[in-house]
């Protein structure tokens, strides 16, 4: 059974979202998603300052035999990216909710967060 922390929000596309006090959202892929993908070998991320749109791709993640798009949970701007993934993509497998984070986003409308799944709903979706 995969790890679905109760304090995070989720998308149908298997991204998680962690909001900090200042309203900045940290986004990565869930433990379930990294398990399905297998060994991650490359993560292609946008640049800080780029615009992202809700439900639209903002990057790609590659395993040895699969490639998947990363979908933005909200509309907004990229504040920061996890440059360390370039040298250590395996962090996504090792620690998806920690070192394996991908981008920090500033949402245009913080209310968009309410449309995301909570841990229970996401757990239902992945059938666990």
């Amino acid at each position: 059974m995969s790890n679905v922390p109760a304090d995070l929000k989720y998308t149908k596309d298997h991204e998680y979202v962690r909001a900090d006090a200042a309203g900045v959202l940290t986004v990565g892929i869930t433990d379930f998603a990294q398990g399905e993908l297998g060994d991650v070998v490359f993560v292609n991320l946008p640049k800080p300052g780029d615009r992202v749109a809700a439900h639209q791709p903002f990057g790609t993640i590659e395993a040895v035999k699969a490639v998947s798009e990363l979908f933005s949970p909200v509309t907004g701007m990229v504040a920061e990216i996890n440059g360390a993934l370039d040298g250590d993509p395996a962090a996504v497998n090792r620690d998806p909710y920690g070192d394996g984070w991908m981008v920090r986003l500033k949402p245009d409308d913080p209310k968009e967060l309410n449309e995301l799944l909570d841990a229970g709903a996401y757990r239902n979706q992945i059938g666990e």
């Binding site: 070998v41 040895v64 035999k65 490639v67």
Partner: protein
């Protein structure tokens, strides 16, 4: 009494595996009275061909060899100085006999199963290292189809790297080979990319320019300094591709040192015969930054479970089988056998030997240049390596060409007042004397040859002379003697599993017999020494063979016209779609650009559609893998105004004859679209049903599947297209040798008939088998697949079968249920290696499954041996299921087992060494050892290394 003379045995008897009595027995085991009754139950009645193919009956091998000899005798071998990317070469005989003519090398498949492919993977890594060193660009692949398509791939890669621009422009140097320009133009047109052809020094890098292609040295021999051009391009944010020549690069500053971003070219002249156009391996090299944009197969270094260096194909997420319509190219089959030959040529000669060959060719060219100047001719370029462009009076040109012809020499006519001469390693001083005599119009020479030699002047400017070392790795220095070379080739061969060891039951790949008789003509000089642009009156034998092969393929597929140009299945797809596109354009329907592709399609289909400038609309497949008719109707209706085509595979990629194929075709036709039929599964149809009859408009034929061209360890392939009457005018043409229709869709390959030297293989197969043998082969292919399906039925879940519970020529077994106990499809595949077989196709068309295609060539004994292995593996899985074996540390998860592992002093696994290595009685008679353990692909993809690692990497073990 009159003697009764028994008829000699026909070839069909050798090609088909099961004996006649086995066939009867197998058919009855399936519950049918006769093979024909079985076939009636498999193939839908409404598409059956109810007559014999209009081809002669099968013949004996001796008889067909005699016919091939007669055809060969009609080809004339002239000395070729035509150049344009095709040069004479001496194939070292140790390479010819032990690689080119050796089924241990030519019957292997693409190295997807790295543990039993380390031999050719090493040869390919050598190839990449050689290319990286010679071009001075570190990221290389192995390999592409030909120089012209490699240049087109470079253009496409440039387009994907460049930022989106309005009306993008790509600049092409007029010094490029004409066939390269034609292929680049064709591919650019499909992408709405404007190509401007001009002299490189006049290039203007405006804001719309995404990149430029130059030829180094140029097609007419000129050696130019492109440093200023590269600087201007980079300042404007454009990329520079150099089409180049490996032999010349031993003398010239390599493209990577003067600023090129990509280098492409052909490695033909490294020991691979011209072969009237191919097959040859093209190379592709680029900078580290662009590695994820690179097309084709990259061999990379990784490690196995014991930390030992191990090779495998790297960064596969770039490729069509994973990224589909977003792939970096549609290429699948490469030119492995030819890349291996070229790499072995480099290993054999080493850097000093290559340099010596280049120096010799260059010295002879300078001698010729001096003599021509003495004769009063003007050379157009003073800087050259091996090719001269010569100014000639208009009145004198025909006389020179004739004088050359009389000496059995072909010269290239650049224009009514220009000739060119390209020399190569086969040219001797007396050949040069013959050339000079032709240019002297047979008059006595006013000087001695020795004088010309003395007057030869430097022809490579100092700024362009190579100063950096290349091929410094020990592999290029150790194998100078023939004994060492022979052992090196054999050592690598022994690491790989080919058809010489066991069946290779890869679904969708059709790994059937590549008969020795069929292979013989490949090494006959009358077939392999011809230049692709040699005058047609010298190639009558080939032209006759092409004509007959076109007729054979047209009859087999039920179409009116055939183009032999496409050089691989993927290229056939692209060509077929370009034909459809040209057809729509001719009718004022240029807006028809939607291509429907079933979800179950092979990844090449969507990748090809995108290259043809189409937009892909997926069509759902039902749970049986069949096209969902309701969804097809809805999508066809929704896009009726812009529907260009559907791409459909038949029998389906799931190995089933869909009963609705006629309906599928008419739905698409009713909405204005054309039907492209992917011929990958033609082996289930030959003689029984024909794409042209049930509604397709164009299809490609993988000659390397159904028609016996060997897979070569990952190429060569050939993908001719067959088209209905209304599409015939649009078939591909060629700028030098006219071959296509009047409204041709363009040029798809460098050579007019693709890889001509391997076409006699398919001609021989069809001629040997005849209508009767071909039909029987198809029936037995279907029988063999159903036999396997039935034997495995009680042991594995079988996925997809037709209406009556039967499969076509392949079957899929579902291994997903074993995931619950931690056994993945990969574990089963690797365990099959321990039993001495090549695993079936893994995870295509359905993830987590194995697709098995036995072909008609495998005997009942071999089928049983394979089924016994599969059943034994099922019992091994049961041990895990029942808790008798450890879930993480068992025969499957630790497979495959190397000799070193099972013989080492330490053995800490919970199962015996004997079970690991000798799981079946047969493995005691003949054991195929994987030379490395399970390869860690993730490690290699995270740390891409695509050239030979330093020797210390091995010494550390």
């Amino acid at each position: 009494m009159r003697a009764s003379i028994p008829r000699p045995e026909r070839f069909t008897y050798r090609h088909i595996g099961p004996r006649p009595e086995d066939i009867d027995d197998m058919v009855q085991g399936l519950g049918y009275d006769s093979l024909d009754a079985l076939i009636d139950a498999v193939i839908p009645d409404d598409i059956r061909l109810r007559r014999r193919l209009a081809l002669p009956k099968g013949r004996t091998e001796r008889d067909v060899l005699r016919s091939l000899r007669a055809l060969a005798g009609q080809n004339e071998i002239f000395r070729s100085y035509l150049g344009m990317g095709y040069y004479g070469t001496f194939t070292p005989q140790v390479i010819q006999r032990n690689v080119l003519e050796n089924p241990g090398w030519y019957t292997a498949y693409t190295p997807y199963q790295a543990e039993i492919s380390q031999g050719r993977l090493e040869a390919l890594l050598n190839y990449q290292t050689m290319v990286a060193d010679l071009t001075a660009l570190p990221i290389t692949n192995a390999s592409l189809l030909d120089e012209a398509t490699a240049a087109a791939e470079a253009m496409w890669m440039t387009e994907s790297i460049a930022k989106k621009r309005e009306r993008p422009v790509y600049l092409v140097d007029e010094g490029c080979h004409p066939q390269t320009i034609a292929v680049v133009r064709t591919r650019a047109a499909a992408r709405a990319l404007e190509v401007k052809v001009a002299p490189a020094e006049q290039f203007e890098f405006g804001p719309q320019v995404i990149g430029a292609l130059v030829q180094y040295p140029a097609t007419d021999g000129r050696v130019a300094d492109f440093r200023p051009l590269a600087e201007r391009a980079h300042a404007a944010g454009a990329l520079v591709t150099a089409a180049t020549d490996l032999l010349a690069l031993t003398l010239l500053v390599p493209p990577g040192e003067w600023g090129a971003d990509i280098a492409v070219g052909s490695s033909q002249r490294f020991g691979v015969p011209m072969g009237y156009g191919g097959p040859h391996a093209a190379f592709f090299a680029t900078k580290e930054t662009y590695k994820r944009h690179m097309p084709g197969r990259i061999i990379g270094v990784s490690k196995d479970g014991d930390g030992r260096p191990a090779l495998r194909m790297a960064l596969q997420t770039r490729e069509q089988h994973i990224r589909r319509d977003k792939a970096t190219s549609n290429i699948c089959t490469a030119q492995v056998l030819l890349a291996v030959m070229a790499s072995m040529y480099a290993v054999y000669h080493g850097p000093a030997g290559l340099r010596r060959i280049a120096d010799r060719v260059h010295a002879l060219t300078r001698t010729l240049a001096a003599a021509l100047r003495r004769l009063g001719y003007t050379l157009i370029h003073q800087s050259f390596v091996d090719t001269l462009a010569i100014e000639v009076e208009r009145w004198a040109l025909p006389g020179i060409v004739d004088a050359a012809r009389n000496r059995r020499i072909n010269l290239r006519i650049l224009s009514p007042t220009r000739l060119s001469v390209a020399l190569d390693e086969t040219v001797s001083l007396s050949d040069v004397a013959d050339l000079i005599a032709a240019f002297a119009l047979d008059e006595a020479l006013p000087f001695m040859m020795e004088e010309a030699r003395n007057e030869a002047v430097e022809a490579i400017p100092e700024a362009l002379q190579r100063t950096t070392a290349f091929m410094t790795h020990p592999v290029f220095h150790l194998n100078r003697s023939e004994t060492e070379m022979l052992r090196y080739i054999k050592r690598l061969e022994a690491r790989d599993l080919s058809l010489t060891a066991a069946m290779i039951p890869l679904g969708s790949c059709t790994m059937k017999l590549n008969a020795t008789t069929e292979m013989m003509p490949v090494s006959w000089r009358e077939f392999n020494r011809l230049h692709p642009f040699a005058p047609r009156d010298q190639t009558a034998g080939y032209l006759r063979l092409f004509q007959q092969l076109r007729f054979q393929l047209a009859e087999i597929t039920g179409f009116a016209a055939v183009s032999l140009q496409p050089n691989a299945g993927s290229q056939g797809e692209l060509a077929g779609l370009l034909v459809i596109r040209a057809y729509h354009e001719s009718r004022g329907d240029a807006h028809r650009k939607v291509c429907l592709i079933p979800m179950s399609a092979h990844g090449t289909n969507p990748a090809s559609a995108v290259m043809a400038g189409f937009s892909v609309v997926p069509v759902a497949s039902d749970e049986r893998g069949n096209i969902n008719l309701a969804d097809l109707r809805a999508k066809a209706a929704k896009h009726a105004g812009e529907l260009a085509a559907i791409m459909v595979t038949y029998p389906s990629t799931h190995g089933v004859f869909e009963t609705s194929i006629r309906e599928i075709c008419s739905i698409v036709h009713d909405h204005g679209g054309q039907v492209y039929l992917d011929g990958a599964n033609l082996n289930a149809q030959v003689g029984l049903c024909r794409p042209g009859d049930y509604g397709a408009d164009v299809c490609h034929v993988n000659l390397h599947k159904t028609f016996c061209i060997p897979h070569g360890g990952g190429g060569p392939g050939m993908g001719p297209i067959c088209a209905a009457e209304h599409l015939a005018p649009f078939l591909p043409d060629h700028p030098i040798v006219h071959v296509g229709g009047p409204q041709s869709c363009g040029t798809v390959s460098a050579a007019p008939w693709g890889s001509a030297t391997i076409l006699p293989i398919s001609w021989a197969y069809i001629t040997l088998m005849g209508w009767d043998g071909l039909e029987q082969a198809t029936k037995v292919a279907i029988l063999n697949a159903n036999y396997i399906a039935q034997r495995l039925k009680g042991h594995y879940e079988l996925l997809y079968s037709g209406a009556r519970g039967l499969v076509a020529h392949e079957c899929i077994i579902d291994t997903r249920p074993f995931k619950a106990v931690g056994i993945e499809v990969e574990d089963i595949a690797k365990r099959i290696i321990d039993y001495g077989f090549h695993p079936p196709t893994v995870s295509f068309p359905v993830p987590g499954t194995l697709m098995i295609e036995p072909t008609e060539s495998e005997s009942r004994e071999e089928l049983d041996r394979f089924c016994d292995a599969m059943i034994a593996i099922r019992e091994e899985i049961r041990e895990v299921e029942e808790g008798r074996a450890d879930r993480l540390n068992n025969l499957l998860t630790r497979a495959p087992h190397t000799l070193e592992q099972v013989i080492a002093d330490g053995w800490d696994r919970p199962y015996s060494r004997e079970r690991a290595a000798f799981p079946s009685p047969h493995t005691r008679l003949h054991k195929v050892w994987p030379t490395v353990g399970r390869v860690d692909s993730a490690f290699g993809d995270r740390n891409l290394v695509c050239t030979c690692p330093p020797v210390e990497a091995y010494a550390a073990l």
